[in-house]
Symmetry: C2
Subunit: 589 residues, 2 copies
């Protein structure tokens, strides 16, 4: 198993009560525990049986490019066929177009297990999900009829085409042109780069969602429109979009990162002209949560491998006396520093998992409810999304590196798979918006521009949890209550101070943003670990699994949460510490 079924069950049922959550939202249509577990188990079987075995071979073989055609590594197409046969592509799609209509949060379980088993392969179907969501929300009835059934069956796959050579984080610089034709369709011309799954041999057709600019469009992001551009047009003819090459890169070798040349390709406007950026965010926000989850997934797989290794590998004696006197040395798990690394991974993985699925629940409410509760959920979702994406990918990368380190020199060689996890995880800090972009979104848009309704709602959750914990007869649990309350108050104070500073100098936003993201991330995880501790305390105290959760919770509060203070001190130092020197002072020398 690449992902722990016990951990998944603990998260979904014990900590977050998914059954109750669905019951509240969907009433009689709610998926019950049996269905949730059946889907999890079936998904795990598919991922363990089909995806995990081709993870390393896919990395080693990579994709092949020849004459505009891309061949995915051996076994990738066969696994995709099984994915289609299993009906996995339709899990969360609208029933009207052949979907199974299950909640998006349940789709996270599938994304989770797939990404833990094979992140490169997972990106082929993951991008289709994005196109489905964009069309469900913004497509015309005809577009939905034409595209959704084939995307939901898995017969076709999708891509997101944003980046151009000169337009990365700055999507407003996109130059790809779209000219309207007499029949209402558009001709799309331009070059897109870094298009994941942009060309491959897994599906019969590829549906590109393309950001482009009409001739009279205003400059910047306000002049961007969204188009759907199928590789094979609706009449079956080959459309004018051709793969010009694939990138050699650090990781996810099994996924083709393509240069796509659009040469008067026929495209269909999705939504209204010049609304492309806003509409793209419909899928981008969901995708950002999935990328945050990817960080956690690789960290989870690395933790499992590192734990196995730490229990088997014999090196050195425990300083406090031999623990395996009959062996030549003790298993390295007896060494405090190996435990420090394992517990750091555990703190990231368990806390991150709760954060992702909690965010999934919030997203369900935001989608389902049109009332005040729905608005509250939207605020919270907007606030949590950059934290999930930014923080969990950064910590996921830290975590897989601890996993590699536990293997020592054996972690650096290919055989043990740890170095691939490090390479594969590195991209999660970059795509769907870098850490820096997430941080600006969090502090700039979600706090300063909007007066931080999501932050207030999250602090209310922290205080609510503190209220529950403070009456506990357990000293550790009741001791968390003042910590959560004090951190919440400190967070708000910090946000207010930054608002004041930003009014005087907008550079204060960028100067504080990433440290504020990390600070916020650790506090968000503190809430999640409070929930985990609370849940574990209600469990069987003789169960090593439960004991482990409580030990990890103690570790988190004692040894990881203090990192927040270093970030607070750093960001309080202000913009002058970054901006006082001229460009020239940076060299290069």
């Amino acid at each position: 198993m690449t992902a722990s079924s016990r951990d998944l069950q603990f998260t979904l049922h014990d900590v977050l009560d998914f059954e109750g959550h669905y019951q509240r939202l969907y009433g009689n249509d709610a998926p019950g525990r049996e269905l949730i577990d059946a889907i999890s188990e079936e998904a795990a079987r598919f991922c363990d049986g089909e995806l995990a075995p081709i993870n390393r071979s896919g990395d080693e073989e990579g994709c092949t490019f020849e004459d505009g055609q891309v061949t995915a590594p051996a076994g990738f197409k066969a696994a995709y066929d099984k994915y289609v046969e299993g009906g996995w592509a339709s899990l969360c799609g609208e029933a009207e177009y052949g979907g199974q209509g299950l909640p998006d949060s349940l789709g996270l379980v599938l994304e989770h297990l797939m990404a833990a088993a094979n992140p490169a392969w997972t990106m082929y179907p993951a991008l289709s999900r994005g196109v489905v969501e964009a069309l469900e929300h913004h497509g015309s009835p005809e577009q939905k009829r034409e595209f959704l059934p084939r995307l939901l069956s898995g017969e076709w796959t999708g891509t997101m085409c944003l980046t151009e050579p000169h337009a990365g984080s700055d999507v407003g610089l996109v130059r790809t042109k779209a000219e309207v034709q007499a029949d209402g369709s558009y001709r799309i011309s331009g070059t897109k780069i870094f298009i994941s799954a942009g060309e491959h041999d897994l599906s019969g057709n590829i549906v590109h969602l393309v950001l482009a600019r009409t001739p009279e469009a205003p400059e910047g992001t306000r002049g961007i429109s969204m188009f759907v551009v199928p590789k094979f047009d609706l009449d079956g003819s080959r459309n004018g979009v051709v793969c010009g090459g694939i990138e050699e890169k650090m990781g996810i070798h099994g996924n083709a990162t393509c240069i796509l040349n659009f040469d008067e390709a026929r495209g269909y406007l999705v939504g209204e002209e010049n609304q492309g950026m806003r509409n793209m965010f419909t899928m981008m926000n969901a995708a950002r949560i999935v990328v945050g989850l990817q960080g956690v997934c690789q960290a989870e797989s690395a933790l499992k491998d590192a734990t196995d290794y730490a229990r088997e590998r014999l090196q050195m004696r425990s300083l406090s006396g031999p623990k395996a006197p009959d062996e030549a040395a003790d298993p390295i798990i007896v060494h405090p520093d190996v435990r420090r690394m394992l517990l750091t991974q555990r703190a990231i993985v368990d806390g991150g998992r709760v954060l992702v699925y909690l965010t999934g629940q919030v997203a369900d409410v935001a989608t389902e409810r049109d009332d005040e509760e729905g608005q509250a959920a939207k605020d919270l979702l907007d606030f949590l999304t950059p934290i999930v994406k930014g923080m969990l990918t950064e910590l996921g990368f830290e975590s897989v590196n601890h996993g590699l380190q536990i293997f020592g020199g054996h972690g650096f060689i290919r055989e043990n798979g740890m170095e691939q996890r490090v390479r594969d995880t590195r991209i999660t800090l970059l795509y769907e918006g870098t850490t820096g972009i997430q941080a600006l979104d969090l502090l700039g848009r979600k706090i300063l521009q909007t007066q931080g309704p999501g932050l207030n709602r999250f602090i209310a959750l922290m205080n609510e949890l503190a209220g529950e914990l403070e009456t506990s007869e357990d000293a550790f649990l009741s001791g968390l209550a003042p910590v959560l309350r004090a951190r919440g108050a400190e967070w708000l104070e910090l946000a207010n101070a930054l608002m004041g500073r930003a009014m005087e100098n907008l550079d204060e936003v960028g100067a504080a943003s990433v440290d504020f993201l990390f600070y916020s991330g650790y506090l968000t995880l503190a809430y999640c670990w409070g929930r985990i501790a609370q849940t574990a305390h209600a469990g069987d105290q003789a169960d090593p699994y439960i004991q482990g959760k409580l030990a990890a919770a103690r570790f988190f509060f004692a040894r990881m949460l203090p990192r927040a203070d270093a970030h607070r001190t750093a960001l309080e130092a202000g913009a002058d510490t970054l901006m006082s020197g001229s460009e020239e002072t940076f060299g290069p020398w």
Copy 2:
């Protein structure tokens, strides 16, 4: 240029006064500034001309293994020939055996420039240096006569053979056997793994320094002896050591990481029986400083590339108003968060460079002086070595990752070279003793077992610097004095508290060690940045270079030094936070 000649000059001459240092130690034989600069410039020419151009191609091609033979990537042998022709192999060797007799600290300049240009290639000659040092210190007159001239000419290269499949960090588990023969030589049999440069086509012969065990040797590290085992024996016959394969690994693809099978190979005892571990540390300690330097080197090259990119790449407008109104967007160096990453890199690179060369000076004194000053230098060197190795490789890895991040998605693809730097740097945290091993060495051996004479001496240096700074009319400089004094006092208090704890429970050592290493690392860098700030303040304040040093110093104290507090809090939480759960609580689940 892969390494900044201005930065090198600033470090060697302005901050550390190498000329004065050599004058004090070597009197009339001292290399003067002219010679130091000539060597630096010539070495830079060699590295830029021969090594940098084959860095990426070496990574892509890797080494080839066939029938026990290893072929290094194209151009590696030709570059090695130029290295030999240039006389670089003999730079710091004893004159008696053909060496140029220059101080080891000057050899660091060569290591520095080579490792910045091509870390994989650099490991071929770097390992020879280790063998030379071991033989200079512990070899018999005959061994010196036989091996040193050919190693110093570069005709032969060397390796260090410690690791076996079951013996990594725990060298005491080595099983390779050595049986004495009638002629006084030994027959060596066993398998060594992870032998860098263990087999290749660069030199005519390879001299292996092998740790092995004689039949009656005591268990553990006290029963290990050191042997020199040439691939071609002294009579020219092929010796019984054969490469059984090379590893596929994350980085340094251009260097062959070999499995070596010794089958009754003829070896010669170096030093006395059972003294192998102690003697191996002669070369290991020097090698650890070089590995710390490697972390800084890759960070330096990454900083240079990232700075270039940040000044060229146009994305987004500055939040405080357009800075390049005639362009489509501003260069990303105007964004505070990009500056945060560049300054973090700068803090690591400049501070780390001063730390390495300062340690080199201390090593010179430790080698040259037999008096009290020599003992003080030995104490300080012992103390600084694990910090240089452990901290600068960890921060080096952080730094190259910031470099990659500044490139955004373009950092993840091979073309820009940043992803290779990340992969190549990752090994520095593992070889020559992992970070965890360095941390145990620092806290266990260099502080607790010996009552920390090196720590006391370093704190004395901090206080001495504080005394110089406090009279400065510059508010920033005089403000550093109380910071350095307070940190020194805190450091000592922390070490004393840990001594007390360790007496009650030895697991407290391992539970605190890595956090103590990081804590100590940041305080050590604080001293280095104090020296840099002091030096820069004495320079031309109108010079952007000097302004940059002062800006980076302010950044370090305001935004990086506070990280030390998170490590202090974490380690003060004690061993219970790691050891309270049983092994079972760790899963895997």
